[in-house]
């Protein structure tokens, strides 16, 4: 029990988001018959920009939609792609569900563990990669599949996955 959890809501007109995202949010809420419908997209876009859904983002989104912070959290914690803690620049999500498992998904995951030196939901010390074992990502006929952030990589082998990881490393280096 503590009294320190209250995050100040931004004052009207102020935003913690970039002007582009704030403008996008302004538009988004008008697309639906009820503003609240924009909640899940907003949480995703906020996460894309900040890296996770921060307390401040929760407060501002709640305010934009005229719902309580509790309400935002209730929804946020339900969805497995949303997170409230920062992770690495590239989130390597290895599917090990049945179709991928049959094609070596689990081995691929263990390969990543070894290569990156981290386990499930961990981040490399340099903040480059996070690793996550995920449920089916809808690439079953092209298994085993991995998603890095939002990008799909299909029909992987440990070797081709190494190349993929290397590509991201180089991309980050640029």
């Amino acid at each position: 029990m503590s009294l320190t959890n209250i995050v100040e809501s931004p004052k009207p007109g102020e935003t913690i988001f970039s002007p582009e995202l704030a403008a996008r949010f302004d538009k988004l809420v008008t697309l639906y018959p009820r503003r609240r419908s924009a909640l899940i997209p907003m949480l995703l876009y906020a996460q894309d920009e900040i890296g996770y859904v921060s307390d401040a983002a929760i407060a501002e989104i709640g305010q934009r939609l005229d719902i309580t912070v509790l309400d935002v959290r209730n929804v946020l914690t339900y969805y497995s792609m949303l997170r409230t803690k920062p992770i690495g620049k590239y989130n390597v999500q290895v599917c090990t569900n049945i179709s991928c498992m049959l094609r070596g998904g689990k081995e691929l995951f263990h390969h990543c563990e070894k290569r990156l030196g981290i386990g499930h939901k961990q981040t490399t010390p340099d903040g480059m990669f996070s690793l996550e074992e995920v449920e089916c990502i809808g690439a079953c006929s092209w298994a085993p599949a991995v998603q890095v952030n939002y990008d799909f990589h299909d029909e992987l082998t440990p070797e081709s996955l190494d190349e993929v990881l290397q590509q991201y490393r180089s991309k980050a280096g640029q």
């Binding site: 009294l3 959890n5 309580t68 912070v69 509790l70 309400d71 959290r73 914690t77 339900y78």
Partner: protein, 781 residues
């Protein structure tokens, strides 16, 4: 709605169309188990305990979401259903800790009961249970997550019932969890409804948690001592070193005018009774200025002697009497009667928090115009002017919310603050704090610049038949008359006037006024009381509270008898003013007034005595003795003893015995508590021999006989029902004073977390107040 007929377990049953199957079954004694289903709250279909077989439907159906239909054939007790229930319980118990021996809910747990009735003795589950440590969410609320079975009752009662929405559901799958709104703590009204409604021991209260086992308590249904709503509360009491101690307050049996509702005060603020600062010995000021403990006999002797001397030397006008808004009707009645007949004075008053006198006069001669609190849960339209029911009348607020939710009642609101009830109000008009009178005139047709919303309210109100008008102490004087006049212009409007304490209305009805006898009858005219007592009651109006202290400072008040009030604190009376007045205080604590007293008589509180109280809506209810404290006496006993010692004829004062020799209580032990407990036993057996002058029923007889509007059905009262009293309809109210009569109203200004002087001695209430104040500061910060 039309009735439909269906067959359940071979039995033909008929119920109105639209009735849920689970309810239709319950009404004919077929119990279908459920955790998540809760009457009055939204449907969940989550616990799957109420699955039944309905013919022609392939899957089992939830009885809690299925409306009955004509010709439906239902089975509720087949092997298939028994197995489904058993399996459901096995599944719940998979992750539910079996710490029943230490769990607060043990013995009162719906999961235990259901497992006993429908479950299996063994479990197939051998895996490790998911565990999380217990969390404290507020000074009163604890959450033991593994015990939670996710029935969502707490979430719904907070959201739908309380309109607070402080609880949510977070995560998903087996990780689903009830979560408080401030991440690790609760920012809410701290009502404890979530704890109360929890079917298991997942939510527990700090006041009760790990204190006792349910079967060690005795449960006594009595009336909450705090606000003017008069909720019934069931106190769980347990024997302690010095009496019977209250360990819990709730109203799980849902009886009484509040159903299951209790607010933070009703649920937790009984702890003042256990406060270590409580006085338990009579104290008499010694020549050296210090208090010294003395025996009851000595203390009463001193008081009686001084009162008698004051009366004999100075006449009745030399004595002042101040009563309380937290004593019983019987005590208030007896106090004014003693003052008038034994002391010979009309110098009687109490802390007035609203003007019942003006209200009653405005309604004089009208029949059935005073609303009971139950009207607030059923009236199709309610107009609330002033007051903040959420803070000051939590039951009223609960009723209004429920009424809106269940019956789509229309709530009209005008207030000078943005009170929370505006969520339910359509529309809400904010007016300035000093324009209530003008607003009422505006409603009556006067042109005032209140704007369009106000005009909309006025026009809507004019078209409301059966309007319930409720107003707070913001309305004074002529505005009350105008409000009532406006209401009377509508068909079948009813009224309620909001006073602040449990027996504010009773104190007023019982005539704790210098100018009015019980039932608002004038001291100087004809009345039921006058007919009975004739010249024994003085005809000259006495001094009101302020005048008494003024008289004291002029050395014109020889004695002051304060029963359960703290006027010195409230009015800022100086010690100097009372230096030549003999002051007797009956109280639980060393209040500011008690500090200036010459004799202090430690008293029992409302939870420690029997009698009746009348809430601000005029609902009279029985108060039953639950707790007991060695070393204290009820105000009733003390008044009688003082009068007796003064040489008064106690039989006249308290018409007890009726020819039977009474025992004055002694044969039932030294403590008044024991005498009272005997009284409870008698009452419980519908016996009223009135053998003792300390028997409140003896006075209640006289109240019923002489106080207009109080001629209710005693048997019905003893059966546990509230009685609506309406002195206005008696035709006896003859308040003749002009509008210039000062109303003497000082609103308490209490919030949800304060309760006058009494509240200051509730540690839990203070803790909650500080906790919530910090939350408010953080939010504002």
């Amino acid at each position: 709605m039309a009735d439909v007929t269906l067959t359940v377990d071979g039995k033909t049953i008929t119920a109105p169309a639209g009735t849920l199957l689970i309810e239709a079954c319950r009404k004919v004694g077929i119990e279908i188990p459920a955790f998540c289903y809760y009457p009055g709250l939204s449907l969940q279909a989550a616990c799957r305990m109420c699955l039944v077989r309905i013919e022609k439907i392939p899957k089992l159906q939830t009885a809690c979401t299925t409306p009955i239909a004509e010709g439906m054939i239902v089975a509720t007790e087949t092997d298939e259903i028994k197995q489904a229930r058993k399996a459901m319980l096995e599944l719940v118990l998979a992750n539910h800790p079996l710490d029943c021996p230490v769990c607060d809910a043990g013995g009162e747990c719906e999961l235990q009961d259901m497992t006993f009735k429908y479950g299996a003795g063994g479990s197939q589950f051998v895996e490790i249970k998911n565990h999380r440590d217990e969390q404290q969410w507020s000074p009163v609320v604890f959450f033991d997550r593994p015990r939670c079975i996710l029935c969502y009752r707490c979430v719904r009662v907070c959201n739908e019932g309380m309109d607070v929405a402080a609880l949510g559901i977070q995560q998903r799958n087996a990780g689903s969890v009830i979560a408080p709104n401030d991440q690790t703590s609760l920012d809410c009204e701290q009502c404890g409804m979530c704890i109360d409604i929890c079917p298991v021991g997942a939510l527990t209260s700090d006041t009760y948690r790990y204190k006792t086992r349910p079967w060690e308590m005795t449960h006594v249904g009595t009336i909450c001592t705090h606000c003017g709503d008069g909720c019934k509360t069931t106190l769980g009491v347990r024997r302690s070193d010095d009496g019977m101690q209250i360990v819990r307050g709730d109203n799980r049996d849902k009886s009484g005018l509040n159903g299951e509702f209790l607010c933070v005060k009703g649920r937790y603020a009984f702890d003042f009774a256990n406060n270590t600062e409580r006085l338990t010995q009579p104290l008499v000021r010694q020549p050296n200025g210090e208090f010294a403990p003395v025996s009851w006999e000595d203390a009463i002797q001193v008081v009686a002697q001084k009162f008698r001397a004051a009366r004999d030397e100075r006449g009745g006008s030399g004595i002042g009497v101040i009563g309380s808004t937290r004593i019983t009707n019987e005590e208030a009645y007896l106090l004014q009667k003693t003052a008038r007949s034994a002391f010979g004075t009309n110098n009687i008053d109490h802390h007035r928090t609203t003007d019942y006198v003006r209200f009653t006069r405005a309604l004089a001669g009208q029949d059935h115009r005073m609303a009971g609190i139950s009207d607030s849960i059923s009236a199709p339209a309610i107009f609330v002017l002033g007051n903040d029911p959420t803070e000051q009348h939590p039951l009223l607020a609960w009723n209004l919310r429920t009424n809106v939710r269940h019956n789509s009642a229309r709530v009209y609101l005008a207030n000078h603050r943005e009170i929370k009830l505006r969520h339910q109000a359509k529309p809400f008009v904010q007016i300035s704090g000093n324009s209530y009178g003008k607003f009422v005139n505006f409603l009556g047709g006067a042109s005032e610049p209140f704007g369009e919303d106000a005009a909309a309210i006025r026009d809507a109100l004019r078209n409301e038949p059966n309007l319930l008008i409720i107003f707070g102490s913001e309305l004074r004087g002529d505005a009350i008359d105008a409000m009532v006049k406006f209401g009377l212009s509508l068909p079948d409007a009813k009224f309620a006037c909001l006073g602040d304490y449990v027996n504010s209305r009773g104190a007023a009805d019982m005539g704790l006024y210098p100018d009015l006898l019980p039932g608002y009858q004038p001291v100087d005219g004809e009345s039921t009381v006058r007919t009975e007592y004739g010249s024994r009651f003085p005809r000259q109006a006495g001094l009101d509270m302020g005048q008494m202290f003024e008289a004291a400072s002029r050395n014109e008040l020889a004695a002051l008898y304060v029963v359960g009030d703290d006027p010195v604190e409230r009015l800022g009376v100086s010690a100097q003013a009372l230096r030549n007045t003999f002051v007797v205080v009956q109280d639980m604590f060393m209040t500011a007034t008690a500090k200036l007293a010459d004799v202090i008589l430690p008293t029992a509180n409302l939870y420690e005595k029997s009698g009746t109280v009348t809430n601000t809506f005029g609902d009279l209810q029985q108060v039953k003795k639950a707790a007991d404290r060695a070393g204290v006496r009820s105000d009733l006993e003390l008044i009688v003893r003082i009068a007796d010692t003064m040489g008064e004829d106690v039989r006249t004062l308290v018409p007890f015995g009726k020819g039977v020799r009474a025992d004055m209580g002694q044969s039932r032990g030294a403590q008044s508590g024991e005498a009272d407990r005997h009284g409870i036993w008698l009452a419980a057996h519908d016996l009223e021999p009135k053998l003792s002058p300390f028997d409140p029923n003896a006075i209640l007889d006289e109240i019923q006989r002489l106080v207009p509007g109080y001629d209710f059905d005693r048997i019905d009262l003893l059966a546990g029902n509230s009685q609506h009293v309406e002195p206005d309809g008696s035709g006896l109210v003859q308040i003749s004073q002009t509008a210039s009569r000062p109303d003497g109203v000082i609103p308490s200004g209490d919030t949800l977390f304060t309760s006058g002087t009494l509240g200051r001695y509730s540690e839990k209430l203070n803790e909650v107040e500080v906790f919530q104040a910090k939350k408010s500061m953080a939010t504002a910060g």
